[in-house]
Amino acid sequence: MTADTMGLTFLAFCLPFLGALIAPALTRLLGHHAAWPLALVPLAVFFHFLGFNAEIARGEIVTGGYAWVPSYNVSFSWLIDGLSLAFLLLISGIGALIVLYSGGYLKGHPHQGRFFSFILMFMGSMLGVVASDSFLMLFVFWELTSITSFLLIGFDHAREASRRAALQALIVTGGGGLFLLAGLLLIWDVTGVTQFSLLMSFGPELRTSPFYLAILFLVLGGAFTKSAQFPFHFWLPNAMEAPTPVSAYLHSATMVKAGVYLLMRLNPVMGATPAWETILPAIGGLTLLVGAVLAIRQTDLKLMLAYTTVASLGMLVMLTGFGSEHAIAAAALYLVAHSLFKGALFMVAGLIDHETGTRDITRLGGLRRAMPVTFLAALLAALSMGGLPPFFGFLAKEEIYAALAGGSLRQVAFTAAAVIGNGLMFAVAFAVALKPFLGAPTQTPKHAHEGPALLWIGPMLLAVTGLVIGLFSAVAHVLLTMPLASAISGAPQTITISAMPHLSLAFGLSLLTVAFGVGVFLMLDRARAAANRLVEDIGWGPDRGFDQGMTGLVRAASAISRLVQPGRMETYMTATFTVIALALIVPPALYGEWPRLPVWPAGMPFHELAVMVLAAVGIAAVLMANNRLTAIVALGIQGFCVALLFLLFGAPDLAFTQFMIETLSVVILALVMTRLKLTPRDPRPLREKIPDGAIAVACGLGFALYLLKVTQGRFDTALSDFFNLYSKTIAHGANVVNVIIVDFRGTDTLGEIAVVMVTGLAILSIIRIRKGRVSP
């Protein structure tokens, strides 16, 4: 890759974010016409990456990037192979159409600029996800898509349903992202590489690692949440609270496929193990059936499509993990086909909603005359989704059946799941494409008429693309699907399937699917009732579980807060001092580091002992005084005794200070206390006295033991010697204590007098609060 292309590629990754930056201003300037210039952003990205097509089709890989955090071996580097390229083209190509569609859909919306900005930001994040070579970069972009998806789902934030859906999507997909991060870190730990391009040769190490299962579950935790696999599927239908362009773009064509992308990316190094080939098809198949059944149940166009998206994602996961060559090819074909027809159908649903004011299929009918272009687009997309020749969907479905069909029990089971799922989706596809347009016209909230070009250009183009690829499948295979399948499997693949029906087992299954689908379509009302009954019988789903979980979280957090912070000072104090006592006593007990038994110093003068005893008496008087005023007076005794002790043991400075402070304390205390009309007694009941006393004695004992141990140790006089030595010679002061305070440790003292002053200010303001005076 030349430096020029590297710079341009980097620019292509940045372009959507730059577009997001100017989108609000541009929309203020041009109104909804801003969609036209803004669509150039994804279009430019699309054509840039289209330029790599020839290289990729030859089986080459494009890499490039810049160092990001070199010390941690983190780089901003990209890896473009068939898999990445297919995604890049889908994201940017559909993105361009979505931007145009949004221009029409949100015309006149006060926050349309913000919407454009979010959509472009999402696009940039999604491009980053599928092109990341470095693990960390993948994770960052992965979470960015979760965040932008949160912003887009909650775009209509005035409604509670939107807020709930946004939060739910963020928690489910963002939480899954954390699993993914853990999984990627484990992969890094096992293999020692942080880039996918280097990881490709580490398959055997990874598969035989003892951490393989852990890695697998963590990675699946990320992929299954993002791609809405059962039982995490519930957030996707709720995300339909978002404006339709978002549903069409994020929640059918691109973001929800990030999980599938990840599985496909890791398939060469992690696939082909029993765990991989059991879990993926099982969960995928289950999701396929659950999604398809739930889709039948809905009457809302968008919800029907959303559940079929869940089903399709299940299909993709099933195919990725199924473990046959045709399965990979089928996954590649279905991936592209699904993005095209589902994106188109979503936009059709939004278009119908926009023009008629309702999305309820039971209230719609006879729109074919009013909206012929929309009808055509819907029909083309539905034919592809239903898998009828010569559409792209047909190719995908043929390949799916070719991959799955066989004689073993496993093959039969998954084939049955695929037939049922596809049949139900067939019915839903035509329900969406035919029911609103055929039959007698109905009364709708708005008078129906064809939408503006901005709105139908997107679905039409996507639907036609589905037809064109189906017709010219040989070219598409070489350019798009074969490199894609090769990248997924890790070895060159050939795909030969064409739109020409040919007699085979797969074709027979296709016919069966169509027959089943037509049957369900004709009896849709009864099928809906049956599905409803089934769901009501179960009665509980993960969606309700999410609510219960969130409420439980709040309740648990509040209960813990209340337990730890009951609002009773005694509790806090008791906890604090218990911990202090334990911290002082437990370690010496554990390590046997008790102090030696002390001896009473010989020749202690009587007056020293007397002062100490007096201090003890003062303390005892404080403790025993029933009356608080008595306690205050007694407090003075111990203070003066401490001052005397300082005087006796060579600290006159301390003694004087203590004398003054003690006098002031008692005066102030007495001054205030006489003003408080306190109850004369504040007895402590015995059941409080005993535990309090025990804690107090434990604390006192702990400090005494600690002090004893310290004084028995060696004493390092280096600091004191320093001060004694230099007090006079350098600092010109004979009183060493004062020299330390004002000179050696002057900066400390500066801080301390600042504290004294601030305390004064605080006291003054507390007293003044009530008086309501502003200044003296």
Binding site: P652, D653, F656, T657, M660, I661, T663, L664, V667, I668, L671, V672, R675, A731, H732, G733, A734, N735, V737, N738, V739, I741, V742, D743, G746, T747, T749, L750, I753, A754, V756, M757, T759, G760, L761, I763, L764, I767, K771, P776
Partner: protein, 139 residues
């Protein structure tokens, strides 16, 4: 406490104690004493004065608001520290000069200035606390 004798003696006692507090402050570098102790003695002096003659008398006698005195003390202390910057030495380095006034050599230093700052902070802050508490609900 409001006896005639106490009220008569109090101003003299206060003046004496204030003078003593300054003496303690200034000798602090070589003998027991210093800014903290001196400041506290001055506060006690003011407290006695306040008990005898009321807090408004103390406020009048101080002239400045006690908090202003405290703030000025902090300012002086900072200044004493910053003076070293003019001589290109680190913050808080002690600087000494020995001018001779009337034939007596007087040692002056930034350290002493700092101690005076400490003195003023203590006097101001604690006096203001005491006055605020004494004033209580009076105002």
């Amino acid at each position: 406490m409001n006896t005639l004798i106490f009220r008569t003696v109090a101003p003299f006692l206060t003046a004496l104690m204030a003078l003593f507090s300054i003496f303690v402050l200034l000798r602090g570098h070589n003998e027991p004493g210093g800014g903290f102790i001196g400041g506290l003695i001055a506060v006690s002096a003011l407290a006695i004065f306040g008990i005898a003659n009321g807090i408004s008398a103390v406020r009048r006698a101080l002239w400045f608001h006690p908090m202003a005195i405290s703030a000025f003390g902090l300012f002086i202390a900072c200044l004493a520290g910053l003076m070293s910057a003019a001589f290109g030495v680190p913050f808080m380095t002690g600087l000494w000069v020995y001018p001779v006034v009337l034939g007596v050599e007087i040692p002056l230093s930034s350290v002493m200035l700092f101690d005076i700052g400490v003195y003023l902070v203590v006097v101001g802050a604690i006096t203001s606390i005491a006055l605020a508490l004494e004033a209580g609900d009076d105002t």
